[in-house]
């Protein structure tokens, strides 16, 4: 078993808002998360809107300050780094690809600059060598060298995502957060990007945190899967354990996914109501208000992530 290259311990991210009338509200976006990602593998982080997965992704690479908690990268807590040099080094090794191919590229920069900047910032190469590296990266993501002087608006969504991936790879990172990288793309284009990402992972020994709301995609691309609900991880398991999900929310999520095979009509678990607001999370287990199998304990005591199997952890009073 490889050691974890990334480990998040008790990570919390709260946003403090002041409404128009002076009322103070706290958004518990990430509310105590523990997870690990092993080197060279993909951890799929799945959850619906508002569960905090995107925030968690940004906090893990320290793009957003964590309110509390520790994040270890290669054994060092990246939230407590001293020198600017160390911080820059961590920046280099931990990158991110965003969901929106149209918004994540600077419309006023050429591809050459977009991909070239990370190389410059981290002092990896200069002049002619830098240009060569940019061309190399373009080829790596399946784009043509002639595209180098063009602007983002001249490309399709799929191509822009490739550019974003090239940018992320430019500074030779070890860990990449992929925040819904194909959700905004057509289904016939998705596959190409996803296959490319898997291929790059093998070639460059990359570690991925793959965030998505799409269980089908997550299941096909991850080695381990973490399910998130209202700021907390409710279940975390190896991909093969998807046949044995335990948490009621995960079960409902899985059953809600429309199946392409009309013959497979699973009995669908319909949850009542909608997700509570992250400013007012329920007591005890955050899911208890919608859970079809809750008991009194669920309202009072928050369940912790417990091992029910070798690699499979659930945060639920009923399942453990």
């Amino acid at each position: 078993m490889q050691e974890a290259v990334i480990e998040a311990k008790d990570v919390k991210k709260y946003y403090y808002l002041r409404s128009l009338f002076g009322r103070k509200r706290t958004v518990y976006a990430v509310n105590g998360v523990n997870l690990q990602v092993r080197r060279g593998t993909t951890l799929g982080l799945v959850g619906e809107s508002g569960c905090g997965k995107t925030t968690l992704g940004k906090v893990i690479i320290n793009l957003i300050d964590a309110t509390e908690g520790k994040i270890y990268f290669d054994g060092k807590n990246i939230l407590k780094l001293g020198s600017r040099r160390e911080k820059l080094e961590v920046r280099r090794k931990m990158q991110i690809v965003f969901q929106d191919p149209f918004g994540s590229l600077n419309p006023w920069m050429t591809i050459k600059d977009i991909i070239g900047r990370p190389i410059e910032i981290h002092g990896l190469r200069e002049g002619r060598e830098k240009l060569d590296r940019v061309l190399e990266l373009l080829e790596l993501v399946g784009l043509e060298k002639s595209h180098i002087s063009k602007y983002p608006h001249e490309f399709s969504g799929g191509q822009r995502q490739r550019i974003a991936i090239a940018r992320a790879l430019a500074c030779e990172p070890e860990f990449i957060v992929l925040d819904e990288p194909t959700s905004a793309l057509d289904v016939s284009v998705q596959g190409k990007i996803l296959n490319m990402l898997t291929d790059l992972q093998k070639r460059l020994n990359l570690t991925y945190l793959f965030i998505s709301h799409n269980l089908a995609v997550i299941n096909n691309i991850s080695d381990s899967i973490a399910v998130m609900y209202l700021g907390k991880i409710v279940e975390i398991m190896p991909q093969k354990s998807l046949y044995n999900v335990q948490h009621p929310y995960t079960k409902a999520l899985l059953s809600a996914v429309p199946s392409p095979n009309p013959k497979v009509k699973e009995k669908r678990i319909l949850l009542k109501g909608s997700v509570p607001s992250p400013t007012n999370p329920p007591s005890g287990c955050k899911f208890h208000t919608r859970c079809p199998c809750r008991v009194k304990k669920c309202e009072e005591e928050e369940p912790q992530l417990t091992y029910i199997d070798d690699d499979h952890r659930v945060a639920c009073h009923i399942s453990t």
Binding site: V187, G191, N219, P260
Partner: protein, 322 residues
């Protein structure tokens, strides 16, 4: 067919933009019968939304319907006046629900005001009668405490509830045809399941008779339609019943789509792809618009547009292989 409700014949729509003329729809044809649920599926740019908007003659500028006929119960909608459309068709015979309910609902009117307005536009009843009808239809869509809900503004409701309000509005005048344009694309998957369940039960109860359901999600459409129209780059590739599309797709694009949809239950594997990119519709490919990406392409495919031919029963394909 005597219970034919909608007959779209050779619909052509063009967008006259500064960069050029976008051939958004080129000879699109399909039919919907009474009680039939038809799914319109395709990727971005295929023209599915444009086709839906054309039925209601709501194609936005710089677009224009430049050809074809749209028969609703025997009447060509493209020949009647806009006034007639407004009074007799939109909202009464044909209703539409949209992708983002938060944008489709008026933020400064309460849910009640919007539904009542929709009702009163088409039925000559008093406000209180309209409100009663509104409450009834809100109940039908499964919303709790309808009288209270009438007073709520859209921003006070969750995405799922907003969509239910939109469905309520669309159903309030008992339309013959409900057009749903990606109604669940912006919703979470568990809420989507709830809305789908609602639509299915409304269909079973007979509140929704005929429906045109538009989406890019193949898995979704399999659950909700009897018949599927597969569109590609402004043309119709194939029209088949749901089972056939999944088990025995004829058109190479349909085949490709089936392979590309990730199955949550099949575990880690590589993803299916279709080579090439969706073409620009400003200078679309000659002949069959899919020929550049088609692995079965022959010489004729680049030269001549294939027409929709009947394959068997009510299934049609537009492909030179058949």
């Amino acid at each position: 067919m005597t219970d034919e409700l909608l007959d779209v014949k050779n619909l052509t729509v063009r967008y006259f933009t500064e960069e050029g003329v976008v051939e958004a729809l080129d000879g699109v044809s399909f039919k919907i019968s009474m009680g039939e649920r038809v799914g319109l599926v395709g990727e971005s740019g295929c023209g599915k939304s444009t086709a839906a908007l054309s039925i209601l003659r709501l194609v936005p500028l710089p677009g224009k319907i430049t050809g074809g006929k749209i028969f609703l119960e025997g009447v060509n909608l493209l020949e009647i006046s806009i006034d007639e459309m407004r009074r007799r068709v939109r909202g009464s015979k044909v209703s539409m629900i949209f992708q983002e309910p938060s944008r489709a609902l008026n933020p400064v009117l309460t849910a009640g005001e919007q539904i009542v307005e929709a009702i009163q536009l088409h039925q000559k009843i008093s406000k209180s009668e309209a409100e009663e009808r509104a409450i009834k239809v809100l109940e039908e869509v499964g919303l709790p405490n309808p009288p209270e809900l009438l007073k709520r503004y859209p921003f006070e409701l969750s995405g799922g509830m907003q969509q239910r309000v939109m469905i309520a509005m669309a159903l309030s005048c008992n339309p013959r045809l409900l057009i749903a344009d990606e109604p669940t694309s912006s919703l979470d998957v568990t809420i989507e399941a709830q809305i789908l369940d609602l639509i299915k039960s409304l269909m079973d109860q007979g509140d929704i008779s005929a429906m045109l359901f538009i989406t890019h999600d193949l898995a979704l459409i399999s659950e909700i339609s009897d018949k599927i129209v597969v569109m590609y780059a402004g043309t119709v590739a194939e029209i088949s019943d749901t089972e056939t599309i999944f088990e025995d797709p004829k058109h190479p694009y349909s085949k490709g789509l089936m392979e590309v949809v990730p199955d949550p239950f099949r575990g880690k594997r590589t993803f299916g792809t279709i080579p090439g990119d969706i073409p620009s519709l400003i200078a679309p490919p000659s002949g069959c618009r899919f020929h550049k990406r088609c692995m079965y392409a022959k010489e004729i495919c680049a030269k001549q547009r294939p027409t929709l031919e009947r394959i068997e029963g009510e299934n049609y394909v537009a492909c030179h292989l058949f």
